[in-house]
Symmetry: D2
Subunit: 400 residues, 4 copies
């Protein structure tokens, strides 16, 4: 394993860092203001203007490996950049590196026809439109993806889609023009061949946003998470990705990078929480000395530092393996960081909250919001338990 950064990466790191310092951190308040004024579900001017700037500076689409369309970075090379972006929740969009678009772009790049690429991928890569991903369903335990039961039924030259999805993030954004939908094309097929993925234009009749889903009281506007119903939604047959019954195959390909990006960003989130914990405890005095000098505070800062370091190294290892031996061989490592990073972040943020007193649970320091986000990532793309089961089974297999 070689985690040494090349000069190219070091240069990008410096430039992303400088961009954050100059443009993104100073815009945090403005972003909040623009969201809270008028219709919360409209894109903000500030993000749009920062996107233009980032694109101009070539800090754009840094995420896409093994493709001419991206910046040509490996997962390992992208990791430190993604971590920096993770420090501000809207920063990834500024660099056109936000979920769920990145995962969707990767799916389109790998599995879509040239026509579909032209129609959707190009505009996504340009940051003109956004996209959504419709997999999880409220009616079943979607942690076991074989439970997913929406219909994608062939009818002549079309597929007819029926079902109800939730946690379809970004679907309410007016820029969201396309989504990728997972459902069953053949309920009589072998269990892992029943599911398929299909591209669905958002303006197709029969799609209805039922409601938005708050996360710990946050609406995450203007992005947000939607519950969406699909009633006799008709899509041309050539929108099917890769072929009927190959949904799981694509999911495996999609979820690997998606997961590792989440983890990289979470490391940035945790670093920022630790930074806040240090600054706060240095500046507040209780019982005669700075809170930072009390041994229980030192213990937590130390544990936070050690946990962050370890999570970062494991994430880099997973990225390195994805680059060198492929996502499938790296699946134990991907599963591990999917468990480790959100739990680590929750722990570090929780300590930071405690160090901020009442300030920790309200909006002044962004910590409660960060916690809500990290906590949700213990569930997104499968709860911890599913990943731990998988890791455990892979470990036991060594002794078959």
């Amino acid at each position: 394993m070689n985690f040494e950064y090349s000069d190219k990466v070091k240069d990008l790191q410096a430039r992303v860092q400088a961009f954050m310092d100059e443009h993104v951190y100073p815009a945090e308040e403005l972003f909040a203001e623009q969201v809270s004024q008028g219709d919360r579900w409209q894109p903000t001017e500030i993000v749009e203007s920062l996107k233009a700037k980032a694109k101009e500076e070539g800090l754009w689409n840094l995420f896409l490996p093994e493709s001419d369309r991206g910046a040509g970075l490996t997962n390992l090379e992208y990791a430190p950049l993604c971590e920096i972006m993770g420090r501000v929740h809207f920063a990834p969009e500024v660099f056109n590196c936000a979920a769920p678009d990145t995962g969707n772009m990767e799916v389109l790049e790998r599995y879509a026809s040239e026509e579909l690429k032209e129609r959707w991928l190009t505009r996504l890569l340009d940051g003109e439109i956004r996209s959504a991903f419709a997999m999880t369903e409220p009616a079943v335990a979607s942690s076991d993806a074989t439970n997913i039961e929406s219909d994608i039924i062939r009818d002549g030259d079309e597929y007819v889609i029926n079902g109800r999805k939730w946690w379809t993030s970004g679907a309410m954004d007016p820029r969201c023009e396309v989504l990728i939908f997972m459902g069953k094309t053949d309920k009589s097929a072998p269990i892992h061949k029943q599911q398929s993925m299909i591209v669905v234009p958002m303006n197709t009749p029969g799609i209805k946003i039922e409601r938005y889903l708050p996360v710990f009281g946050y609406d995450h506007a203007p992005h947000g998470h939607a519950e969406v119903s699909f009633t006799n939604v008709r899509v041309p047959a050539d929108h099917m990705l890769l072929g009927e019954g190959r949904g799981f195959e694509i999911a495996q390909g999609r979820l690997g990078p998606g997961r590792i990006h989440h983890c990289m960003r979470l490391i940035g989130v945790a670093e920022r929480a630790l930074e806040k914990m240090c600054l706060r405890t240095k500046s507040r005095v209780a019982f005669g000395k700075p809170v930072a000098e009390q041994t229980v505070t030192l213990e937590r800062i130390a544990e936070s530092r050690a946990m962050i370091e370890q999570a970062r190294l494991l994430t880099l290892k997973a990225a390195y393996m994805m680059d060198t031996v492929g996502n499938k061989q790296a699946r134990a490592e991907i599963a591990m960081i999917k468990v480790v990073a959100p739990n680590m972040a929750c722990k570090v943020i929780d300590w930071a909250i405690q160090a901020h007193g009442g300030g920790g649970v309200t909006s002044d320091f962004g910590l409660a919001a960060a916690y809500a986000g990290a906590r949700t990532l213990r569930l997104a793309d499968g709860p911890d338990e599913v990943h731990r089961n998988q890791i455990g089974r892979l470990e036991l297999k060594k002794y078959d």
Copy 2:
């Protein structure tokens, strides 16, 4: 220790339970609807109508021990009733047993002049008005209460108040007509004699609600938490409670019952989360069998049950000691439950969230909101660390 319930208590338990079943649980949705329609910061009709009903049924002011004005219950007797109320966040108000009114009423009952009682206590006990408590300050580490630095300066027949408070819960409610304010009357006095508490009518000029403080993303409307500035607020000198310099003495008296009520309610919250975890895991199937039958689920249910039982018993012990040897002798036990109950509730709710998948972090099951509430109670009335330090010091004193 005798934790046996008398017939009177068993009867009240049955009646409060029946009231909850008949009136409160069925009103949960309606409450949410009424809050979200129109001005969120207005009292809801549903709570007002339920208050009338509860008062009529004699389920009213159950909290106030050692006073003719309450129901004549001891802390131990009130505990099981308070736990039941804790299961629905607006239920305590229905029975006129909600924070911060209960603590304020107790302070007025114990330390206020007859005149002040007449003016404020009677109406609070009648549920006509509400009240607030202004102690914590944003500018200092209020976990060390000696840091509190607002001024209450004598000027002729009045006191002049200047300062900025936050986490003044309920101050935005239009029914809130009075608050109790803590600040320094004499900065040259010995450290524990500088602080005083004074009664302040909310309509006094110079009081300004600066903003409301969300908790995680919840506004907790119509109750809410306020940041309030006090600029040359003038109050008659006879509004001083107990005398200058006796703020800490009152705080000790006030915070004991306030803390134990929080803990009792938290046990109700945890019981409800466990109930939801059981119901959910029994009804969802993943990987071929109900989630409830997987050993990791059984482990968590078992740990939850054991933690709840222990926290309840310790809370009962603290209540019993408050009743028999007094709040001061019970201070180690009060501090212990103040640490144990919120942490226990956070853990149980967190497991329940995990068992609900995406449903756990959104609004459908109330779990994320419950978590936000329990998490905040690790900070309210002093963070865990302050209480643990106190418990530790009391333990070490045994070996002096």
Copy 3:
């Protein structure tokens, strides 16, 4: 629940405490010396002489509820006495309240014929002989007791026993004259009717002590734990307890009290570890002030106190339920304390070890030995996981 102690219990508490102070604590070193001189597997003079004294003072057989043969104490009344005894590992024997004799005496009292009682129970109650219990087997996962596979086969007027047991504590003691053996009388019976329990005199041919089992390097001499083989061991048919196929029924009856005694003693062990932690950290200075004044130390002392209090209350509740509604109705509570008490003790002792530095892991303070004992009790009578599964299933049943 009434945890108030009667005058009788308060008197016994004072007398047991005084006996400990006067006779047992001062004998700790002597006990260690006598064990290490000569044959470690011989009873010590000191314990024999203290037994005579305790018997003389009427502090004898305090454990046996619902029987004329004991002191007439309920489980709840015995609890505080057992806790005090638990503070010194050899103290329970001094009062004739040591495992596994207590459990065996209870089984004989409840299920044995008058003849067997006369032959064994009387002498056990007199402290003349000791006994053992042979259940766990090295070849199978005995956590699932249905796995136990030794044979107890009827052959005319006798039963013929074959099998191999381990963790047969006390079997090497020359005073051990009898054991109770669990095995299968009928492998074709329904799964919970295959097992039986039979009384086996230790001098029966075919019994062989194969080896002693150290616990974390400790031999626990002169008591110790044995692996024992049984080869064609012939016992009169009337030594069968209660009847063929009723082994599980007896096990339930035996294990309840056995478990609760372990837990009571563990609370005493934890109290003593906390006492040592306080004394040590008060007396040692590091980095300019006593270790006791560092906040991380205060945190641990506080957590220890809160955990001990909770575990004690839950143990008292379990005892109270055993006394009032019976062992079967109390099975969730018994299972809970079986999980809670050893884990609590391990945690408290571990912190105490850490506070003693190198002194914590060696023999000077008894902490490492205490840890080894508490850790083992997470496995004895079934590992935590089995108990948690049972608690979880009982909880889920409430929603059937």
Copy 4:
């Protein structure tokens, strides 16, 4: 960071692994037998014969970086080899890579005169003799090394040593011919200049082994840990290392490598415990299916794998930094692994113990002994708390 192994290292890894498989694992029982026969405090034949073999195969002194006398490996290169050795407790000695000799050899190599090197270092490198390190004292909290209070007083051409040390590991081994002693040469000097280190031949009059210190119940014979008194021990003045008052400077240099070796070995210990946990749970059936298939088991195996991976990566990072920027710059990372590795190992071993039932706490699987060893390493070279304080302070310094 480049963690890629060179061909040289891969070759050594394969050879050390093969040597372990062929010679060391098969000798585990024999070692135990030889220790238990006759005088436990004599070296075993088996280790002596394996040493000869390892030396012959060039698997010798692999630990010493930046020196012609060792194998020329960096810390990073040595790490994977040290991990393999760590899997069997006596294996490091077989390869002449055992503590405390490695640390002592490193001190002699860096700080001793040519004469002292000739007399002691050469023979240590040859594996002819062994050595000890005398730093910790029973009378003071040695976690704060400024507390160490033994005297090293200049008297003409000699130094006169008086004091009492404990945890002087290996001092009872008849091959132990030299030790390095830390004490105060000048109690009036600035606090960090009072301590010095001096070389002391074991046969100097006035040295007395007072007793051996068991660890939990293990004597760790024939190596063991001693309490040693020094009474007017006279040593030639030229045995002083580096100069009076430079003890802390040497300690910093010595403890870095010593700590990282402990951590590497602990990773090997944890890997072996996980291996045993997998094998055991696959082979034991409870409640109708292999213990390995129960989700709580899978959870623990997964957590173990993730914790081991992270600890290994952090250890490699620390080693890499020691090699590239030096021990001083790497002090946060060294402190982190000193905290992380023993705690990780304790956790993994504890789960493995639980999975083995009674077998886990006795001698059959080596797990209880492994636990005792790992637990002790939370204290050796400073307790966790000291290291966490240091990490915390280094983190806070970033914001000065």
